[in-house]
Amino acid sequence: MATVTYRQALRDTLRAEMLRDENVFLMGEEIGLFEGSYKITEGLLKEFGPKRVRDTPIAEEGFVGAAIGAAMLGLRPVVELMTINFSLLALDQIVNHAAKIYGMFGGQASVPMVIRTPGGGGQQLGATHSQNVELFYSFIPGLKVVAPSTPAEASAMLKAAIRDDDPVLFLENLALYNTRGELPADVADIEPAEIGRAAVTRPGTDITIIGYSRMARVAAEVAETLAAEGVSAEVVDLRSLRPLDRATVVESVRRTGCAVVAEDDWLTYGIGAEIAATIQEGAFDWLDAPVRRVAMAEVPLPYAKSLETAALPSAASLLTAVRDTLRATGRPVLETAR
């Protein structure tokens, strides 16, 4: 085992998949000569050449559509979109084409394509470059949306996404790229994940905290803090936003009796709204307190650090919501946690 960054895990996995299958190729803005805006594709142009590491013009609708067309003929393109904000320029191709081609033509052509793209605020990038719009894609049947939170998960999930015959939006996060985790020395040894399975990443008995991508990591951090206070928090990492593993969420809440959802997107109509609805339908009789959501403030994310920090969900805001929820259960055992 080796300790690597999320960035390195992605890069090594892309390389391993390209070595494994010559139909796998990369497309995107600045991924070749420039080696990627976030250096995920570092060294790959040199190793594989321009046929398999294809720099594109700034034309998201055009090159995402081209990737879909190439996938229809059996190639396995992995597209990098510089940020998820730019995916909006390709929305028609992703939603009306990638997601529809398999069903609309009665299963005659599939679209084995991956779109890798980071979301995330907190970098003072301002309103148009800091959004988390994974919800748009999670809403669409025909798409798969995965959002791994650790290097090992990112590697296993990227393998699964590349080998999957459906279009997969692979959500990364700017704040995760430099985070570290354990990975086998040879990424070829990593088993592909099963897309559509959430994971209980930390077992607990008092409360369930549900997160994905960056917020799953924040949830783990918060659970650690709570443990020191004598509160046993269970963490569920959704890992996949579509398909959504409702069973794992509900089973956890049936054990703990209360839940907080941590999401990086906006609260109204957000991912957390779907999770909360799932919990009320699947664990209504087990709930000791209303489900809470911790999400971004409902504003276009400002540039100024003071405002940006205040707007973003954090370990501190999640901790507050967890404590409020525990208090709302009225359980005596938790008096010590106050």
Partner: protein, 376 residues
């Protein structure tokens, strides 16, 4: 020879504005003259074959319009009436192994690409025997075997896809060509320009074909395009391009052959514009009130099928009686197709969840509207 342009060094063309509406095609183009010469070189049997295919498209579309008013066909229904020569000429330039992407006005292309009228009609009827198993309808015909890779309902949606398919051909070192059909209105949308740029940059074997019928729904080309000579848009991408009379099947075939050959042998994209009238409204339900009575009268004179019938008769290739027999034959084929569609079953509701994902997912949602999320 079609009217062609190369980008670099071409002097800015004088702006020519066509009259409002889909007037008769510009017969004065070089394409028309060239076609006459080519027609002489095309044997009689081939010409009769083209005529029969055009007739098949015509009778199919007329039948579709009737079936639509009888509520056998739902949704939208866009017809190729007036575009028969274009459809047949374009398809005659392709090999069976070549790929085709189209927009939503594509019934005729499916027939001319070699799909049986019965399976196309069944798709319009929403039956499980349809080319897309009843999942697509009129706008979304697809047949992997004949390499029709989809009719697409979103204007411009198919254009990047076609560029991508051509990228796959080139990636695999194949010799197939991808043809991408679209309407005149598509040349205003971003996807068109992004795709032409990409195809030009990457030397992709794709032929973009703009079917200029003068109207995007009810809006004329002159009202939607700053450059109404649409083929000239190729110049911005250093792409060879041409305009051809879309009512002349041989002229269309020859212009398309030039384009396809260039794509196949040199792996270069090409932009071909065909000009032909749209004989009826945008779709079956559109009475085309935005067209004047004079325009509608003029359309009759521009009917490519009537024109070809006359030419074949004058050339002694097809007599009036032979034409009637051909028509009866084609009409019988269409009747049989409609009967097949009518007798075919609708898709079973148990198949509703079969085509959401190609790779199965755990806990796949197979929930009907009133079903609970959790069954206890």
């Amino acid at each position: 020879m079609a009217e062609t342009t190369r980008s670099a060094g071409t002097a800015a063309p004088a702006r020519t504005r066509r009259a409002r509406g889909a007037k008769a095609p510009r017969r004065e183009t070089h394409a028309a003259a060239g076609a006459a010469a080519a027609a002489a070189a095309t044997d009689a049997a081939t010409l009769v074959g083209y005529y029969r295919q055009m007739l098949l498209v015509r009778r199919f579309e007329e039948r579709a319009a009737r079936a639509y008013t009888e509520a056998k066909i739902g949704g939208y229904c866009h017809l190729n009436l007036g575009e028969e020569a274009t459809v047949v000429g374009l398809m005659a330039a392709l090999r069976p192994s070549d790929y085709l992407f189209t927009n939503y006005r594509e019934h005729g292309y499916a027939l001319a690409k070699g799909i049986g009228a019965d399976r196309v009609m069944a798709e319009l009827y929403g039956r499980s025997t349809g080319v897309s198993k009843g999942w697509g309808g009129s706008m979304h015909l697809f047949d992997a075997e004949s390499r029709l890779l989809g009719g697409y309902g979103i204007v411009g949606g198919q254009v990047p896809l076609a560029a991508g398919a051509a990228l796959a051909v080139s990636y695999k070192g194949g010799d197939e060509v991808v043809m991408c059909q679209m309407g005149d209105g598509t040349t205003a949308i971003g996807a068109f320009h992004e795709s032409l740029n990409i195809a030009g940059l990457w030397d992709l074997p794709v032929v973009f074909v703009v079917i200029n019928n003068g109207l995007g729904m009810g809006t004329t080309v002159e009202h939607s395009s700053a450059e109404p000579e649409l083929y000239r848009r190729g110049a911005a991408y250093r792409m060879e391009s041409a305009r051809v009379d879309g009512t002349d099947v041989v002229a269309v075939r020859d212009a398309a052959r030039t384009a396809v050959e260039r794509a196949r042998s040199e792996s270069k994209p090409y932009l071909l514009e065909t000009v032909s009238p749209r004989l009826k409204g945008h779709s079956v339900v559109d009475p085309a009130r935005y067209r004047s009575k004079e325009e509608k009268e003029a359309l009759k004179a521009a009917d490519p099928l009537a024109r070809m019938a006359l030419e074949l008769e004058e050339a002694g290739i097809l007599t009036h009686d032979e034409r009637d027999r051909l028509d009866a034959d084609v009409t019988a084929e269409i009747d049989a197709a409609a009967a097949f569609a009518d007798a075919s079953p609708m898709p079973d509701v148990s198949t509703l969840f079969d085509y959401t994902y190609a790779t199965p997912v755990p806990g796949d949602s197979r929930r009907l509207p009133a079903d609970p999320v959790f069954r206890s």
